[in-house]
């Protein structure tokens, strides 16, 4: 057992560190400058540290797959608070295009997407199609001359549609085909008159999601990805592209650190709340779950690095983290007591987190859908007749 990446990666790690030290923070000290970020990312791509799986001709660095190196890079970037290769907006479209796109689509979209010149929103969910995604009703009809698709309908829960330039979306293109068979996967420019973006305000007052309305919106005929009516297959590969890296542990670890800090700061009955046996015990119990995430992630990454089977935690992760976030939110509430209702106060973040843990149980597949998936994929139970995972 070895919880670092071992001697064989030490030299590589040092290389990465040296590179980062030479480029970040930028000379002018402006960490938020878009030019500085872009310059750093370009240099990192040049060195083969970013967009490693994407061919050079599409703007990536085209490296041999090496999950160990990828993790080392992510760790070092994160440690230095340097820019990552996270694609602005929803970058899931990139692996999809690499797998299913035409050469022209790849040429046209991938490099600008990596640079952030094109920003994507995902158009899957609809008011009547949530967990049952295949019930979607937004339709696309080919114009009489066959040159373009005319799109009508409504998408919902669209993250970041207010700053996105384009959307990849699922539409019903073959109205007479059976449920899953009539769906196509389209790309569309959403900065056009036929598209209206309306922010959805959340209970936290934040505006993370949007409704997007299509009223005779247009996109060229060649913006179809994969075959007409085969969009369901294209999507399923998109949904697969989520990674299980160590980066996924960042937010629960940081939320927990904040929680410990909160417990130390808040006074209860004349002493720090963290001295209360109830708070200590619950914090320790939460830490036990958090450590379970950490070690399970180590194990997942290790299996991945060593090309071994048996990885199950990635499937459980979202549900596990959602429940843990709820538990942390409740302990924060118990520590805050009177301050728990004050959204104008210093503890707003905790009130938001108390609520956002619920949003986690919904976004990207509800907790019940996660349960269905775990039941089938991890426990090997027979497929649910109606709500079968990935149905």
């Amino acid at each position: 057992m070895e919880l670092g990446f071992g001697a064989e990666y030490d030299a590589f790690r040092q290389e990465v560190r040296d590179f980062i030290a030479a480029h970040w923070p930028p000379a002018d000290g402006n960490l938020k400058s878009r030019d500085n970020v872009r310059a750093f990312v370009e240099a990192a791509i040049g060195r083969g540290y970013m967009h490693r799986s994407i061919p050079r001709r599409f703007g990536g660095s085209e490296q041999q797959p090496d999950i160990g190196k990828a993790e080392v890079i992510r760790e070092e970037l994160s440690r230095a608070r340097a820019p990552s290769d996270r694609i602005p907006g929803n970058g899931l479209v990139v692996p999809t295009l690499l797998e299913w796109g035409t050469e022209e689509q790849k040429q046209r979209f991938i490099a600008p997407t990596l640079r952030g010149d094109i920003i994507w929103a995902q158009g899957f969910s609809e008011p009547g199609a949530g967990s049952d995604l295949a019930a979607l009703r937004t339709r696309a009809e080919l114009s009489p001359d066959g040159s373009k698709w005319i799109v009508n309908g409504q998408k919902i829960w669209t993250t970041g549609a207010h700053f996105a330039t384009h959307m990849f979306l699922l539409v019903r293109s073959e109205p007479d085909a059976p449920k899953h068979a009539g769906i196509s996967y389209l790309l569309i420019d959403i900065r056009q008159p036929g598209v209206t973006v309306r922010p959805l305000v959340q209970m936290t007052r934040q505006k993370e999601f949007n409704e997007v309305f299509f009223d005779n919106a247009e996109t060229p005929a060649d913006m179809l990805v994969g075959e007409r009516g085969k969009g369901w297959n294209v999507t399923r590969s998109t949904l697969k592209h989520e990674r299980s890296g160590i980066a996924a542990m960042t937010w629960p670890l940081s939320m927990f650190r904040d929680l410990v800090k909160l417990a130390k700061e808040v006074e209860r009955d004349g002493q720090s709340a963290i001295k209360d046996v109830r708070v200590r015990e619950e914090l320790a119990a939460i830490e036990g779950e958090l450590l379970s995430i950490v070690y399970s992630t180590y194990r997942s990454v290790s299996l991945d690095v060593h090309g071994q089977e048996g990885e199950t935690f990635t499937t459980m992760r979202k549900l596990y983290m959602t429940e843990l976030a709820g538990r942390m939110g409740k302990l924060a509430r118990d520590i805050l007591e009177d301050d728990f209702t004050d959204m104008g106060g210093a503890r707003l973040k905790w009130i938001e987190r108390f609520m956002i843990s619920l949003s986690m149980s919904i976004a990207g597949g509800t907790s019940n859908i996660q349960r269905n998936i775990i039941a089938e994929r991890v426990l090997g139970l027979p497929r649910d007749r109606v709500q079968g995972a990935g149905a």
Binding site: S131, D334, E337, T341, G344, L358, I362, V386
Partner: protein, 358 residues
């Protein structure tokens, strides 16, 4: 054995509910909730409730009241909680009760008729921060002018009269006598609260204030518990209705056993707890020895249940339940105030344990 509401009580609730259906539908509720700037109550709805003599319920007949009991007030609180009614009921009813319980004849004569009619608005100031809420914990003193801070005071800015919990018992402070109110950006915009800073305010003690202060906070606990029950029951119903309506995979989601069991859990948490607030109010009226413990249990159990049920309600609704446009968050935010106001469930459980002699 008659642990049931009387016909008169059922009629009272029906009248209030009818009014709320008429004047506190969700569209209006959202409008009040979304008002620009600081939260405000619904003056029209409150006027209608005063018209209906709701604030007179526990006021003695001699002062223009109905001389009913806490259970009557509590079942109204349940109805208001059910509708998430944006009215200053809680503070006002408690202020009137404080004066009826502990005021001198003069104080009663001066204030009760006007409180009963709703001509003046009253409220109560209990909290002093850091979970100090109850009579034994009050540090502020009325002696030589009231100074200091009271927290989470319902509608203090609009109130004409504040009954303040002080180390000497209870004190009356009138508007314009030396205090400032800062509206809290509270989650619950249906029941605004203020931080009140008293700066040598003229304060008049209630002669029996010391004796009745804990009766008053017990009543407050019962009323908050009643609100919580009403809200929780509404959320369960809302979730059940949605499950019957919402279709996925070609059928109502109510057909999915996983969700069914989650709805059952919500109902199991809520429905059997109704008696806790009933008994807390009934004990206050008829079994005073049992009232403090019953109040602590009702407040602890029901406000915890309510908050959990609102969380479950969001999950049962999926994405829509997390939006500002949906009703759920209004209930969750009321549940948050119910949870925190007068002290957390944990505090009341420790108190119940003390009262049980453990």
């Amino acid at each position: 054995m008659n642990f049931l509401l009387s016909d008169e009580q059922l009629a009272l609730v029906d009248t209030v509910k009818a009014l709320l259906r008429d004047k506190c539908d969700p569209v209006r509720l959202h409008k009040v909730f979304d008002v620009e700037g600081e939260a405000r109550f619904d003056a029209e709805l409150w006027a209608a409730l005063c018209e209906m003599r709701i604030p007179a319920i526990m006021v003695p007949q001699a002062h223009g009241g109905m001389a009913l009991e806490l259970i009557d007030l509590a079942i109204v609180a349940e109805a208001l909680g059910h509708a998430a009614a944006p009215v200053p009921f809680l503070g006002h009813a408690l202020a009137a009760l404080a004066i009826a319980l502990g005021g001198s004849d003069e104080q009663q004569a001066k204030w009760l008729p006007r409180l009963a009619s709703g001509e003046v608005l009253g409220t109560v100031a209990f909290g002093e921060g850091k979970s100090a809420w109850l009579p034994g914990e009050w540090q502020l003193s009325a002696e030589g002018g009231l100074s200091g801070v009271k927290t989470l005071v319902p509608n203090a800015a609009e109130a004409d009269l504040i009954v303040v919990g002080v180390s000497e018992g209870l004190a009356l402070v009138e508007k314009g006598t030396g205090y400032t109110c800062a509206r809290v950006d509270s989650a619950d915009r249906t029941r605004p609260v203020d931080t009140v800073t008293f700066e040598g305010a003229a304060a008049e003690l209630l002669p029996q204030g010391k004796d009745v202060a804990s009766r008053l906070t017990d009543a407050a606990a019962a009323l908050i518990a009643a609100d919580a029950f009403g809200g929780a029951e509404r959320c369960v119903q809302m979730s059940v209705d949605y499950a019957k309506l919402r279709e996925q995979y070609g059928q109502p989601i109510a057909a999915f056993q996983g969700l069914r069991y989650q709805l059952v859990k919500m109902a199991l948490g809520t429905e059997p707890a109704r008696g806790l607030y009933w008994f807390a109010a009934h004990a206050w009226d008829a079994l005073p020895d049992k009232a403090p413990h019953a109040a602590a249990q009702a407040k602890a159990h029901l406000t915890e249940t309510y908050l959990q049920v609102t969380r479950d309600t969001v999950e049962a609704h999926g994405g829509i339940g997390f939006t500002w446009e949906h009703d759920t968050h209004i209930y969750m935010k009321r549940a948050m105030l119910d949870w925190a106001w007068l002290g957390s469930p944990s505090r009341h459980r420790q108190r119940a344990a003390d009262l049980a002699g453990w």
